[in-house]
C-alpha cells in the first residue's frame, strides 16, 4: 500500500485546497469586479467600470460601488452611474450554479454624466450598431427636385396632336364637299332648265284641238311632278349643306382647341403627381427622426438574447459554433425548474435634494430562463426634476414564458429639452432645432418576431435658425424658410413587422407645411414653363387653321348655288 499511496499527499491536497480558498478569499473582490466588468462590457458594447466590489461570503452579500456604464453612442458620456449596489446571494442555488438574488438595491443613480476618458471599446462596435439601427433601414434623404427641360425641347420631343387633327378635318371637309358637289351636279343645270322652259312655252301655246288639249293636260301634270321632285331634292340638299356646315364648324372649333390640349399634355408630362407629397417628412427628415429612437431600439435588440426564451417565435436558427475554449451548455428537463440567473426584486433610487431631482424604479423577476420561472419580467421607472428630462415614466412587461414571447413597454417623457436637434444634416439643406421642449410618448409591443412600436413626439417652443441669405436655392431655400418659421411640430414614428426588417413610417404635421411650400414652388415653376410651351405650340400650329376656314367658306358658295337653283325652279313652278 505504501508503494502506491503517498500518505503525506492527503495533507498536501488539503493544504493546496486551503491555499486556493485563501487566495480566492483574498482576491474574490477583484475577481468578481473584473468578471462583472468584462461581462457587462460585452453586453453593453462600451466600457462598464466599477470602483470597487466587496463580496462577503459570511453574509452572502455583494456590494458594488461606483458603477459607471459608458454610452456606446457617446463614449465621453456615462449613460448610467450608480453610487452603490447591494444584493444578497442565495447560497443554495449557488451549489446548482445558479445565481439567485432575492433583493437588490441600487442607490445614487445618475443618468448622462460626463466621463474623463472615452468609454469606447477598442475596435468599437459601430458596424453592429449601424446594422441593428432603424435609421439604417431607411433610404438616404432626398429633397424633391423640379427639373424641367427647355420649353422648345419639350415641344420638339412631343408628337403634337393639333396638326394631325387639322389634317383629319381637312380630309373630312374635302370628302363632304365632294359629296355635296356631286349632289349639286345632279340638280337641274342650265340645259335642263332651258328644256323645262321650252316645255312650259309649248304648253302655253294656243291650241283648240281637243286631243291636243288632253295631251297638254297630261304634260302639265308631268311637268309639275318634275318641278316638285327637283325642288324637293334642292331643299334636301340645302338642308344637308346646312347640317354639314354646322358639323364642320363644330369640328373646327374642337380642332382650334387642340393646341391648348397639347400644351396641357406637355405640362402634365413634366409635372409631378400628387403622390410624392405623401410622407414628405419621412422622405426629407426620415433618417434623422428614426435615429432618435435608434438607441432604444438597439438596446432592445442587444438585450434580446439575455431576456431568455426565444422571444422570436418561429423556428430558431442553429446555434453558432462556440468560441474557442467555451463550449455550449446543453439543458435537460429539470424536476424543479429554476433559472440560472434571477433577480426577484431590484429597487432603484436616486435623488438630489438641492435640485429636487428624484428617480425611482423597480424591476421584478429578471431571469435568463423564463420558461423555468412562473412570473414575467416587469419593471417601472419614474423620475422628475432631472435637468434634461424634467419628468419621465417607463414601465413594461417582458413575458417569454411561452414559445412566442409577448412584450409590452410604454415610455413617457415630459418637458424634454431638445437642443441642437438635427433634422437634416445634408449640406444643401441643413435643418437643426436650436431649442425646444419635447413631449414623447412611446408604446411598444412585440409578439414573437412581430413588433409594433409607435412613438409620438411633440416639440413646442421651437427655436430654429433662419436660413443664411443665399445659402440655398430654389426649393431648398423655400423649405428652409418655411421650416424656420415653425413654432411647434409633431412627429409619429411607426415601426411594424418583423424585428429584423420592420416597416418604418414617419408622419408629421410638417407634411402639410412642406407640401404647401412645394406645391407653391411647383406652381410657380409650372406657370412659367406652361407660358413658354404655349408660345412654342402656337409657333407650330398658328398657320394651320386659315386653310380650314377657307374651305369651310367654299360650302357657303355651294349653298348659294343650290339656293339659286331653288329660286329658278320655284319661278318655273309658279309659271306653270
Amino acid at each position: 500500500m505504501g508503494q502506491v499511496i503517498r500518505w503525506p499527499g492527503i495533507g498536501a491536497f488539503f493544504a493546496v485546497i486551503a491555499l486556493l480558498i485563501a487566495v480566492g478569499l483574498l482576491w474574490i473582490d477583484t475577481l468578481f469586479e473584473n468578471g462583472l466588468e468584462a461581462t457587462a462590457t460585452e453586453i453593453v458594447g462600451a466600457r462598464v467600470e466599477l470602483e470597487a466590489a466587496s463580496v462577503s461570503l459570511l453574509e452572502q452579500s455583494v456590494e458594488l460601488r461606483g458603477l459607471a456604464v459608458a454610452n456606446p453612442d457617446r463614449p465621453m458620456t456615462n449613460m448610467l452611474e450608480a453610487e452603490r449596489i447591494r444584493f444578497d446571494l442565495a447560497f443554495g442555488p449557488l451549489l446548482w450554479r445558479r445565481l439567485h438574488i432575492d433583493s437588490m438595491v441600487v442607490a445614487g443613480v445618475q443618468l448622462n454624466t460626463p466621463r474623463q476618458e472615452s468609454g469606447a471599446l477598442e475596435g468599437g462596435r459601430l458596424g453592429e450598431r449601424v446594422a441593428t439601427s432603424l435609421s439604417g433601414l431607411l433610404p438616404a434623404p432626398t429633397l424633391p427636385r423640379f427639373e424641367l427641360p427647355s420649353p422648345a425641347e419639350a415641344v420638339a420631343n412631343e408628337q403634337l396632336q393639333t396638326p394631325a387633327a387639322v389634317e383629319a378635318l381637312e380630309r373630312d371637309i374635302e370628302k363632304k364637299t365632294e359629296h355635296i358637289q356631286e349632289s349639286i351636279d345632279r340638280l337641274p343645270d342650265a340645259e335642263d332648265i332651258a328644256a323645262y322652259r321650252e316645255r312650259l312655252r309649248a304648253l302655253k301655246a294656243k291650241d283648240f284641238d281637243p286631243l291636243a288639249l288632253l295631251a297638254k293636260s297630261d304634260e302639265i301634270k308631268s311637268l309639275r311632278a318634275d318641278f316638285k321632285a327637283d325642288i324637293a331634292r334642292i331643299k334636301a340638299l340645302r338642308k344637308e349643306i346646312s347640317a354639314t356646315q354646322t358639323y364642320l364648324r363644330d369640328k373646327l372649333a374642337e380642332v382650334k382647341k387642340m393646341p391648348q390640349a397639347d400644351v396641357e399634355r406637355i405640362r402634365n408630362k413634366y409635372s409631378l403627381s400628387g403622390d410624392w407629397l405623401e410622407g414628405l417628412t419621412g422622405q426629407i427628415f426620415g433618417r434623422q427622426i428614426a435615429g432618435w429612437v435608434d438607441r432604444g431600439w438597439r438596446w432592445f435588440k442587444t438585450l434580446q438574447p439575455y431576456l431568455g426564451g426565444s422571444g422570436r417565435g418561429g423556428d430558431d436558427a442553429a446555434p453558432p459554433p462556440p468560441a474557442r475554449g467555451q463550449g455550449v451548455a446543453v439543458r435537460f428537463a429539470e424536476t424543479e425548474p429554476a433559472p440560472e440567473f434571477l433577480i426577484k426584486e431590484m429597487l432603484l433610487s436616486a435623488g438630489d435634494e438641492q435640485r429636487q431631482a428624484r428617480v425611482s424604479g423597480e424591476l421584478h423577476h429578471l431571469n435568463d430562463q423564463p420558461g423555468a420561472w412562473p412570473h414575467p419580467i416587469t419593471f417601472a421607472l419614474a423620475g422628475e426634476g432631472i435637468d434634461a428630462v424634467p419628468a419621465f415614466q417607463l414601465d413594461g412587461r417582458i413575458d417569454r414564458r411561452q414559445a412566442v414571447g409577448q412584450d409590452r413597454m410604454t415610455l413617457a417623457l415630459q418637458g424634454l429639452k431638445a437642443e441642437n436637434l438635427v433634422l437634416s444634416a445634408a449640406p444643401a439643406f441643413p435643418v437643426t432645432i436650436d431649442s425646444g421642449t419635447a413631449q414623447v410618448g412611446a408604446v411598444f409591443s412585440a409578439r414573437g418576431r412581430e413588433v409594433d412600436l409607435s412613438v409620438d413626439i411633440g416639440i413646442e417652443a421651437l427655436s430654429m435658425p433662419a436660413p443664411a441669405t443665399g445659402g440655398a436655392e430654389g426649393v431648398a431655400d423655400a423649405l428652409l424658410r418655411a421650416v424656420a418659421e415653425l413654432d411647434a411640430v409633431n412627429f409619429t414614428i411607426g415601426v411594424k413587422g418583423d424585428i429584423e426588417q420592420p416597416q418604418i413610417s414617419i408622419d408629421s404635421d410638417l407634411d402639410r407645411l412642406l407640401g404647401d411650400v412645394l406645391k407653391r414652388e411647383l406652381a410657380r415653376e409650372t406657370a412659367a414653363f406652361t407660358q413658354k410651351i404655349e408660345g412654342e405650340v402656337l409657333k407650330k400650329t398658328q398657320g394651320l387653321f386659315a386653310p380650314l376656314n377657307e374651305r369651310l367658306g367654299g360650302l357657303e358658295g355651294m349653298l348659294s348655288q343650290v339656293n339659286d337653283k331653288g329660286k329658278v325652279m320655284d319661278g318655273l313652278l309658279d309659271r306653270l
Partner: protein, 169 residues
C-alpha cells in the same frame, strides 16, 4: 523553464518506476485536455498528490496537453454535443442534471464532457504507450544521450549541479 527542463531530464533519467511516470502523464492528459476550473480536476489533483506518481512529469505534460487541447477544441465540442444529444443517454444526463454535483461538474457543457471523455479514453492507451516509451528511452537512448556533446557540456555546467541537487521525487 530551465528548472522544468531539469526536472524532465531528472524524471526521465531517474530510476523511478516507468508506471509512475506513465500514470502522471495520463492524469496530466485529463487535467490538460479538460477545462482547468472543472470539478473533476479536484479529483485529479487529489490523485496526483495521493498516488505515488511523478509530479514533475505531471506538471510538464499538463502544460503540453493544455496546448494540444486548444487545437482539439472543435473536436471536443462535437464529441460532447453528440454525447449530450444521444437519444439513449438522455435518461442518464437528465438524472445527473438534476443533482447539485452534476451541475457543479458542468458535464452538460459540450467542451467539458467531450474533452473529459476523450482524455479518459485516451489515458488507457496513453498509459501503456508512456510506460513503454520510458522503458525504451532508458534502454536505448539514455546511453547515447549521455555521450552527446550537449549532455557533456551540460554535466560540466552549473545547470547540471542544479540538476543533481534538485528533486521532488
Amino acid at each position: 523553464m530551465l528548472r522544468l527542463l531539469v526536472k524532465l531530464l531528472k524524471v526521465l533519467n531517474a530510476e523511478d518506476n516507468p508506471a509512475q511516470i506513465a500514470l502522471a502523464v495520463c492524469l496530466a492528459a485529463i487535467l490538460g485536455l479538460t477545462p482547468l476550473l472543472s470539478l473533476h480536476n479536484l479529483l485529479i489533483l487529489f490523485l496526483v498528490l495521493v498516488l505515488r506518481v511523478n509530479i514533475s512529469a505531471f506538471l510538464l505534460f499538463a502544460l503540453v496537453f493544455s496546448g494540444i487541447a486548444y487545437l482539439l477544441d472543435p473536436l471536443f465540442h462535437r464529441l460532447g454535443h453528440s454525447l449530450l444529444t444521444a437519444e439513449g443517454l438522455q435518461g442518464m444526463w437528465t438524472l445527473l442534471y438534476n443533482t447539485a454535483a452534476g451541475r457543479l461538474s458542468e458535464f452538460n457543457n459540450t467542451l467539458t464532457l467531450g474533452s473529459l471523455v476523450f482524455a479518459v479514453a485516451l489515458s488507457v492507451p496513453l498509459f501503456f504507450a508512456a510506460k513503454t516509451g520510458v522503458d525504451r528511452y532508458r534502454a536505448r537512448l539514455l546511453p547515447w544521450v549521455e555521450k552527446t556533446h550537449l549532455v557533456r557540456v551540460l554535466k560540466a555546467s552549473r545547470f547540471y549541479r542544479l540538476y543533481t541537487q534538485t528533486g521532488w521525487e
